[in-house]
């Protein structure tokens, strides 16, 4: 068999050395399987993807997400600049607020999906932070640069390399780590963020995540990363906290029905077709891509993002064609994996809108997936596949 491309020494891809995060040495010492991801050498798993996934669902898991891009906008007009570039309103985002939004081109193709936060330092300086996908960081910085000319008082700085980002996700996350921070982060509501301190050092705590669980994402100075990471792990040791890699992050976000750029999202798809209408605010706003989005909102999307489950054990993977019972190809799988929580294969797929009854969300005729030559019946289910039990 081929053992997939894991390695433990730093490889060179296209003659460009891979970047590393401030936690790279920790990952190696923990025996992580490392692989290239968006120009970084990242941990895919430490021991078992399933064990890391279950730790997140039942206790909490730590993810090094320092590869994600962190762009900081400061100065008069920063909110207006971002408002012009994002599908959601930024001008009314209060200090401490976080929103999920899309960056679109003029054709409403998705350039990235992002979190925008409005933050204030203890000394009273306000700024906006845009967290972008690692694979899109350079593209988004280039996309924004010409717009900065229209907002001469706004500066953009790429904080990615100066900082680290750690996600702590799971039902036990908040209760266990709250004591580590100066302010009462257990009072922070979902999609709210605050700048506080951990052992006297600044940290941005954002009650957001990409796993479907409650939890936080922390941004700290690069030199503080390892201390914060180890403190969180130590605090959660008795509760079963584990480090988790990108493998578990992917199965967790898939169960949570969350899109991943390059899979559910690309510049060839608009946010409405990708099922992200909730993240598009078209009322009385003007932003890049708004005209095309208005047209799509009126005439309806050509495709829909659906959740699929399968009987049996054989995983369905990205790229498999979806067929109706006449053998006609009506879409494709954008992400697929065996679901540790459901114990069966799950997938997200983009399918022709005409194949799905918009009233019921069910297919007008049964669907099958072409899993490398074998046809498997597909059940269409509402997203997300998994929701945490409310606490």
């Amino acid at each position: 068999m081929h053992l997939a491309g894991y390695h433990r020494a730093l490889p060179i891809v296209n003659d460009t050395p891979l970047a590393v995060t401030p936690l790279h040495d920790w990952h190696l010492s923990a025996g992580a399987r490392m692989a290239p991801f968006a120009g970084f050498e990242m941990p895919i798993q430490y021991e078992s993807i399933v064990a890391e996934h279950q730790a997140c669902r039942h206790s909490a898991a730590l993810f090094d997400v320092s590869h994600m891009g962190r762009l900081r906008f400061e100065g008069e007009g920063a909110a207006h600049l971002l408002d012009h570039l994002l599908t959601r309103r930024v001008t009314d985002l209060p200090v401490g607020g976080v929103r999920y939004a899309l960056v679109c081109n003029a054709q409403a193709g998705v350039l990235d999906d992002v979190l925008v936060s409005h933050l204030e330092t203890p000394s009273g300086r306000r700024f906006h932070m845009l967290v972008v996908n690692a694979s899109n960081r350079a593209k988004i910085a280039r996309w924004i640069a010409p717009h900065l000319a229209d907002f001469p008082t706004v500066t953009m700085s790429d904080r990615t390399e100066l900082t680290a980002m750690i996600a702590v996700q799971g039902p036990q996350a908040i209760a266990v780590i709250a004591a580590l921070f100066k302010s009462k982060i257990e009072r922070l509501r979902r999609y709210r963020a605050v700048i506080t301190e951990q052992f006297g050092k600044p940290v941005i705590v954002s009650r957001t995540g990409y796993t479907g669980e409650d939890g936080v994402e922390l941004i700290v100075r690069a030199e503080e990363a390892r201390r914060v990471w180890e403190n969180v792990l130590l605090a959660g040791r008795r509760d079963g906290f584990r480090a988790a890699g990108l493998g578990a992050r992917d199965t967790l976000r898939l169960e949570a029905g969350m899109p991943l750029y390059g899979h559910e999202l690309s510049d060839q798809i608009d946010p409405i077709s990708a099922g992200l209408s909730f993240a598009c605010n078209l009322d009385g706003r003007s932003f890049v891509g708004d005209e095309v989005l208005r047209e799509i909102a009126v005439r309806g999307a050509a495709s829909v993002r659906v959740g699929l489950t399968f009987d049996g054990k054989r995983p369905v993977r990205e790229g498999c064609a979806i067929r109706d019972t006449n053998g006609r190809s009506i879409g494709w799988v954008t992400s697929g994996a065996p679901s540790p929580t459901l114990g069966r294969p799950i997938a997200m797929a983009m399918v022709d809108a005409s194949a799905i009854d918009s009233e019921t969300g069910q297919p007008v005729a049964p669907l099958e997936v072409d899993n490398r030559g074998t046809l498997q019946p597909a059940n269409v289910v509402p997203l997300p596949f998994y929701r945490p039990v409310p606490t």
Binding site: M1, L3, A9, I44, I49, P315, P338
Partner: protein
């Protein structure tokens, strides 16, 4: 029966072969190494051939899937598949816990004479594993 991993032959692609002889010639019992199973982790699915199928050394005869990836299984020898461990796909934990006895996958009646010369002994295979980062 307890199969001793140090007395097996190994393919570069991490399958083991246990060569025995009966009245009709040589038979290879084939599985995958504990190193490979540890590297794959989280096995969820296995697809196996039916007996009677002919295989060539180095040819794919089935596949095993983990949460993350699909990995083809390659036959270390050429011949005809005479037996398939058909309970194995429903007992992947058994494969993980006991890769050399319970975890056997297929038996092949070897047709090529020099076929097994290209396989490694246990010491050579262990060197390969440590180079791969075991």
């Amino acid at each position: 029966m307890t199969r001793d991993p140090s007395r097996l032959l190994y393919a570069k692609s991490h399958e083991w072969a246990d060569i025995s002889e009966d009245s009709e010639g040589k038979v290879a019992t084939i599985g995958i190494s504990s190193f490979a199973i540890e590297q794959l982790t989280d096995l969820v699915y296995m697809d196996l051939p039916t007996s009677g199928k002919k295989v060539q050394a180095g040819e794919e005869f089935g596949e095993v899937e983990s949460v993350k990836a699909v990995s083809p299984l390659y036959s270390p020898v050429s011949g005809e598949i005479i037996e398939v461990h058909s309970d194995l796909p429903e007992n992947l934990d058994g494969l993980k816990d006991d890769p050399y006895d319970f975890g056997w996958i297929i038996k092949v009646r070897i047709s090529g004479v020099g076929d097994i010369d290209g396989l490694m002994d246990h010491a050579a295979y262990q060197r390969q594993c440590s180079e791969e980062g075991g």
